[in-house]
């Protein structure tokens, strides 16, 4: 694969802190190799900024292989950019053309306040998991692994839901900033598996309640979340969440 060099205009959201006003700043970046990842392109921008005495653009990233869920970014209005099933760190510059203007913004949601530039605070997700996204089993209490059989097909559906990386793209893509896809993925995983049955009702009620307290919006079934999700979490999980919630409401927390 031969590499091309392209020139880009970057429109980047700059904001010095949560309470400061922000604005778009334009940067011209030339000679970008199409083999670079999107974040490597930002690394190059930051090197140039520092060399010219300007503060680098703050953005979240860590594993750079699509699994940790740290990277975010709205790229030309799309969460994680134009590719499906792809995090920003896996997006490559071959997806862009010479002369393009690329607009880069943070996740925008009341429940994800901006920390600086493109960095947001997603601790609301941690608090939702804290409220019930687990099986209450202390270390040492487990029976033999094979004492809890799980049909292969059931396991596959649970694993599809468990693949959520907690990046928040679903919230960013949703016009209501709803966290239903994130919450439903964890609720589904544990509702499907036999291990999750004991706390099934309590879990869904607590997690939904925490989600509402955090200020996420309501779900209006537009499925933008599914389209944006890098881990391909299906909206069928939201349907399951609704069923689980109804079940818990009707049958009580037994």
């Amino acid at each position: 694969m031969s590499s091309e060099l392209i020139n880009l205009t970057l429109r980047v959201w700059r904001q010095s802190g949560p309470d400061s006003p922000g604005q778009f700043d334009n940067y011209q970046l030339n000679g970008v190799s199409t083999h670079m990842s999107f974040l490597e392109m930002l690394d190059v921008l930051n090197e140039q900024l520092i060399e010219s005495g300007q503060e680098s653009v703050a953005f979240d990233h860590d594993c750079r292989e699509g699994i940790c869920g740290t990277c975010s970014l709205m790229i030309n209005g799309q969460a994680h950019g134009p590719d499906t099933a792809t995090t920003t760190c896996q997006l490559h510059m071959r997806r862009f053309n010479d002369g393009d203007t690329v607009t880069i913004e943070p996740w925008r949601a009341t429940a994800f306040p901006i920390v600086k530039d493109l960095v947001v605070d997603r601790s609301a997700f941690d608090r939702i998991i804290s409220s019930g996204g687990y099986v209450s089993v202390n270390t040492g209490n487990a029976p033999d692994g094979n004492a809890i059989p799980v049909a292969g097909s059931q396991q596959e559906v649970a694993m599809d839901a468990a693949a959520c990386i907690g990046c928040g793209a679903c919230v960013a893509a949703c016009k209501n900033a709803s966290a239903m896809l994130f919450v439903s993925a964890k609720v589904s995983q544990l509702a499907i598996l036999p291990q999750g049955q004991q706390e099934r009702s309590e879990r869904v009620v607590s997690m939904v309640s925490q989600m509402d307290d955090e200020g996420f919006g309501s779900c209006t079934n537009t499925s933008e979340c599914e389209a944006a999700c890098p881990a391909e979490i299906s909206v069928s999980n939201i349907a399951r969440l609704n069923r689980e919630y109804l079940r818990a409401s009707l049958c009580g927390r037994d």
């Binding site: 750079r64 740290t70 490559h92 920390v115 601790s123 997700f125 941690d126 998991i129 089993v137 040492g140």
Partner: protein, 643 residues
């Protein structure tokens, strides 16, 4: 000449047959009364498999836990990126596995440089880990009938690896994270995210707290406790390019080292054979392709150097399946160090492929023909997808191009059988310690060790420390706390005051190149000596000319990086010196001067059958070498053979 301490280190391994000592020792260790546990506080730094499992388990027992991570959420620790699986001696496939065999394979795989008693304990508790994770709802792969599935990994001839597609680390980490978040809800764990540990607080020789920087506000915070547990991962990023996450660093471990904790075997680094090759000088990290791929992929290069045909056009008779040729009994599933060196050997000899000639093929043609594309997709779909994303090549159609990359570090802070460092009260778990993998780690053993340490070892051994130590209250204005705070602050001010012209990343790349060229897959005396000089020079340059903009009282990613690179610049020198002193080849440490006629690693058990633990005396000062002699009473050392 290396300065050697006259006394050897006491590993506190109890006497007795290796298969009985852990059981017996658990009885002999002192317990903390259930009602008294809440009176003890423990700091856990890091929230990966070791840190997450430790924080959850200690809180369940009743201790007051404070947990810290530099990421924005504890769920993002780099354990999450582990792909292939986790070993256990369950013997579900009925193929001859046992605790003894897992123990044997791990000691042999580590090239007889691990501590037998620790490895045996690891094998012993491996089965409980699987049970615990299953109970948490970790979706391990299953057979149609609902029982747990296994696959094979390098260095073993049994199938003992449990997995969740290519995302095993993610699922295990989320299990531990959820267990920990449950304790957050119950008020037993206080979680501090976006905090970076900058100093260890030592009071009268005992580890009693840490200084952290709040990465959002820039504020320095003092936290004290009755014990400090380091679960801060490895130091692979000293090479700049590695499969580690960008944030992985040696700072926390190095700060402990500077406060007196010995650093053991830093030269034992693992270069993983199957990673996506470097594509340009902007490269920021390397991506691993799981070892599990070698179950079905065959590694080859053209028989004729410079063969310019596409891989599909090269017929079998012109392909050199060099692992199958050299190691007929293990074939493509030789351990990582062996596979990496074999790839290097072929590329050095001019047989490499791709634009840079620094790659070999990993080919699924035969497996797809045998099992069908769907079967391969089911096993490795996400890995193939990832490869396709990065290279724009479809591995279902053309072989992957792969090359070795720095992946894991077996060295780490020295710990005894209790996982406690030579500094009382300082415990070190997971990749951050040195104890279980010797000079080379087998695939699917890192997840096992992290969870073993956190779920099933520390909860016992920390009790013994707390029950037997005098631990007077340490107020935040204790002179030791104030001094540690001043030291952290001083270093930040120093970094900001240089105001030079070169970026932090440019220094880091430079250091990485020095390390890779001289302390990589093959090392020799001249190269290592040159590395030491180059690192010293680079460090001097760094402190004269680094440019860190912004201030310390705000969110400042340049400053974070600068602190980490400054520590790598000190640590890299120790790594090179350790490699220089170890005049033998073992596992991931390959000295050109010490090899067999066939190019295999040649150990020197007479002279180097010990753990090398280094004591710090100052930047650029010669460290003192403390030796912990190793004995192999159960797995007699032999020349490792995978032929």
């Amino acid at each position: 000449m290396v300065r050697v301490a006259s006394e050897t280190l006491n590993s506190r391994v109890p006497e007795g047959p290796v298969d009985q000592i852990w059981d017996k020792h658990r009885f002999n260790m002192k317990l903390v009364n259930p009602a008294n546990k809440r009176k003890f506080s423990v700091i856990v730094v890091g929230t990966g498999l070791a840190g997450g499992s430790a924080a959850a388990s200690l809180a369940e027992l009743g201790y007051e836990v404070k947990s810290f991570c530099f990421q924005d959420s504890p769920r993002r620790a780099h354990s999450i990126a582990a792909q292939g699986g986790i070993n256990a001696a369950k013997n579900y496939p009925n193929d001859g596995d046992s605790i003894w065999r897992l123990f044997y394979d791990t000691v042999k795989g580590g090239d007889y440089r691990a501590r037998e008693a620790n490895v045996y304990r690891l094998a012993q508790v491996s089965n409980s880990i699987i049970d615990q994770c299953v109970a948490q709802g970790v979706p391990f792969a299953r057979e149609y009938g609902g029982t747990l599935a296994n696959r094979s990994f390098g260095g073993a001839q049994v199938s003992r690896t449990f997995y969740s597609r290519g995302q095993t680390g993610q699922q295990l980490l989320l299990g531990a994270y959820q267990a920990m978040m449950r304790q957050v809800q119950l008020g037993k764990v206080q979680m501090y995210a976006r905090r970076e540990m900058l100093e260890l607080i030592v009071v009268e020789g005992v580890a009693r707290g840490i200084i952290v920087r709040n990465l959002v506000t820039g504020q320095l915070e003092t936290h004290t406790a009755d014990a400090v547990v380091m679960c801060t991962g490895g130091y692979g990023n000293v090479y700049y390019l590695s499969t580690n996450a960008k944030g992985c660093n040696v700072t926390a471990a190095w700060r402990c080292h500077k406060q007196g904790a010995y650093f053991a075997n830093p030269c034992y680094t693992q270069i993983h054979p199957t990673c996506i090759p470097v594509s340009g000088d902007y490269q920021s990290k390397l991506t691993l392709m799981s070892e599990s791929l070698r179950n079905d992929g065959r590694v080859w290069v053209p028989k004729n150097a410079g063969d310019s045909r596409t891989p599909a056009e090269i017929p079998d008779e012109d392909r050199d399946y060099y692992l199958e040729r050299r190691y007929p009994s293990f074939g493509n599933l030789v351990p990582r160090d062996v596979a990496s060196r074999a790839a290097k050997e072929r590329c050095d000899a001019g047989f490499g492929v791709g634009d840079t000639n620094l790659a070999v093929y990993l080919d699924f043609r035969d497996a797809i023909k045998r099992d069908g594309e769907d079967a391969i997709r089911k096993k490795y779909g996400n890995l193939f997808h990832m490869y396709h994303k990065i290279t724009a090549e479809d591995p279902y159609k053309v072989p992957m191009r792969i090359f070795p990359a720095v992946h894991y570090t077996m060295g780490g802070l020295w710990v005894d059988y209790h996982l406690m460092s030579n500094l009382p009260g300082l415990f070190v778990l997971g990749e951050a310690n040195f104890s279980d993998h010797g000079a080379n780690r087998l695939g699917a053993s890192a997840l096992m060790q992290g969870l073993s340490d956190g779920y099933f070892v520390l909860p016992y051994t920390i009790g013994d420390h707390l029950a037997t130590s005098q631990l007077p209250t340490v107020p935040e204005d204790h002179p030791a706390c104030v001094a540690a705070l001043q030291s952290a602050k001083g270093r930040i001010d120093q970094l900001l005051s240089v105001q030079g012209t070169r970026t932090v990343d440019s220094f880091h790349r430079n250091l990485g190149q020095i390390m890779w060229d001289n302390c990589g897959m093959a090392r020799d005396k001249a190269g290592l000596e040159s590395a030491v000089g180059q690192i010293q020079e680079l460090r001097e340059q760094f402190w004269k000319n680094v440019r860190v903009l912004g201030n310390g009282e705000s969110f400042n990613q340049s400053l974070e990086k600068a602190g980490r690179v400054a520590d790598f610049l000190e640590f890299g020198e120790l790594l090179a010196k350790d490699a220089l002193h170890r005049e033998e080849s073992c596992g991931g440490h390959f000295r050109e001067e010490h090899q067999t006629d066939e190019g295999e690693a040649k150990r020197n058990d007479e002279a180097f059958n010990y753990v090398a633990a280094w004591e710090y005396h100052g930047v650029g000062e010669e460290s003192t070498l403390h030796k912990e002699p190793l004995s192999f009473d159960n797995v007699p050392p032999a020349t490792r053979s995978y032929k």
